[in-house]
Subunit: 331 residues, 2 copies
DNA sequence: TCAAAAGTGTTATCCTTACACCCATGT
DNA sequence: ACATGGGTGTAAGGATAACACTTTTGA
């Protein structure tokens, strides 16, 4: 009940999931994430991460913006704190890792995904490279039925043979999170799905973490590219948060160019949410919410009939409490 | 881009907003919050807070549960991380406060609000004592029009005289957050409202923080009881999060006794959300969502016709992805 | 002239909100 | 008998989801 009785100093690291959309002006945009060391044969990709210096910077966010600007040159727009991780891996033995590191995860959005001049070893990579099962734009990902679900089902079967769970059964969680057995696939639950997969021991991160190997060896077909430490968990948190946030805040425009066509906006919304959206309903929704206004110009770069260009109406921030794109249509 | 280049040790404090509902079985439940030093003439109330020992505890949550159990004897049910505060007051000068303290805020729910044996100096106090403008159960709080809004309007007027804001104008934020000028009062935006009031310098916390005094001296009619440091901000975060969470997760049952009447459930939902709910719609909603089941027993303690007793159906967790009480009715 | 993409009009359904009335018990 | 709270049926309105077709350009 006392305030900080024993001084137990730890080190604070700020880890950022910096998201951009490549080709947001065009027809096939891809959400990308800034990684420090692009995955190679020898090392996993890592999110950019830096120490927090409480003397130099008054707040985390100021500190974050400072080192990101300094080290990568990427100008951050929207920034939001995600979660603070204090654990050294859920199944690590005491002393396994340095227990004196706490990392505060952040989601940041930027429009710049042009080549980075300052850090050649950092690059924007498509986020679905790390989460292939989250991309449903072209329908149900083949990976799901071919690899992921069979392994998860096997893992769920395991439980039935052993002790029945006190809480939610594995099979029920599978159904709720992946929409098996007639359930819906809720695209916002990125983190929960990753944690299930992690628990099942199907990603290398889990095995690094001291967890027993999964029934099927996952080496031969990695389920998405692994990342350093718990960085993929932070990215999953960021993806889920962005997908959810997009529906009630106009954050998507932080990722769009100044002007854009409605189709480009739809493709970007689809790229982030990982779903295909219904064209007419999307347009009606956008029109009804009055979040954009026509510039009067036309884009002739579309290949077919020229498209009207629009811009974000900043005034909506002052008009409506929740001016997001409440995309809901399944198809 | 490097991982934790310079060791800059800081101390981690865990601060918990521990919520219970007093009289959840009865007709006039009140949401309460555990405070360490009940507000007296000489000192502000404080949320229970303890240090995080990274050696003893693997995760924050384990550490939190440990010291809460040890020091207060309150058994925590649902626990959720809220936010990590790294700043030493938004307007403090460098060196003002110890910059080496970072506090991780938590929301925790408990059913126990019986007298605490272990810590006589801790007590559950109604949360609306700290946020009187958030209680709309008996209609629009008188405090709003009598005290709060006039001062906020004065603060908004100030701006018009000075430079116009680059972003949202004060008046617009007022309208959006407090529902002035025909807007809606969104009960989830507890934190945003508190931050506006704080920015306007209307709470003692803001003045402690080096902010200039508000136009009207706030001493004579304090706007809710102040708290130590930024604890009222943490409580505001907790209230907003609980109000929002209640709508898509069955967290309310963490605050209810094992069996309860539908009216008791409604009164509890009202107590938390701060709104009056429509009886028939609430009941239909509860029935449709199938989150409760009748026990078969009746409660004769109501004063009128006996009421059927219900219990939470834990199975809904396994059936529906978002089994909350989507209360939406205005009246 | 035709491919390729932009853009629109309409209807069915469900969910939300609001309405007013009857019921069972204790005093 | 009557006060007190428990409990229900139904209809209006709006939002959402699904439907297929016309228009305009570049090649």
């Amino acid at each position: 009940m006392t305030q900080h009785a024993h001084p137990l100093p730890v080190e604070i690291g700020l880890t950022a999931a910096i998201v951009a959309v490549s080709g947001a002006a065009g027809d096939s945009p891809e959400p990308t994430i800034l990684v420090a060391r692009p995955a190679s044969a020898i090392s996993d990709a890592a999110l950019p991460s830096g120490p927090f210096d409480p003397v130099a910077h008054r707040t985390f966010e100021i500190g974050l913006r400072a080192w990101v600007a300094e080290q990568t040159g990427v100008p951050l727009g929207y920034v939001e704190q995600l979660y603070t991780f204090g654990d050294r891996g859920r199944h690590a033995q005491a002393g396994d890792l340095d227990p004196h590191v706490v990392s505060v995860g952040y989601l940041a959005l930027t429009r710049t995904d042009t080549t980075l001049t300052k850090t050649p070893e950092a690059a924007f990579r498509p986020w679905y490279a790390f989460f292939p099962w989250e991309d449903w734009r072209a329908g149900r990902p083949a990976l799901l039925d071919a690899v992921l679900l069979p392994r998860l089902e096997a893992w769920a079967d395991e439980e039935t043979k052993a002790a029945p769970a006190a809480r939610l059964s594995r099979r029920e969680r599978l159904r709720i999170l992946f929409g098996t057995q007639g359930g819906r696939f809720d695209e916002d639950s990125v983190l929960e799905r990753y944690e299930l997969i992690y628990e099942a021991g199907l990603v290398p991160e889990a095995r690094r973490d001291g967890r027993e190997a999964a029934p099927a060896p996952a080496e031969d077909a990695p389920l998405g590219q692994p990342m350093l430490n718990d960085h993929r968990r932070i990215l999953a948190t960021a993806m889920g948060r962005l997908r959810a946030k997009m529906k009630y805040r106009p954050v998507i425009f932080e990722l769009m160019p100044e002007t854009f066509t409605l189709t480009a906006l739809q493709r970007t919304a689809e790229a982030i949410s990982g779903r295909h959206l219904h064209k007419q309903n999307f347009r009606r929704l956008v029109e009804a919410s009055a979040v954009v206004e026509p510039t009067g110009d036309m884009s002739h770069a579309t290949g077919g009939r020229p498209a009207a260009l629009f811009r974000f109406r900043r005034e909506v921030l002052q008009e409506r409490p929740a001016p997001g794109l409440r995309v809901g249509a399944r198809v």
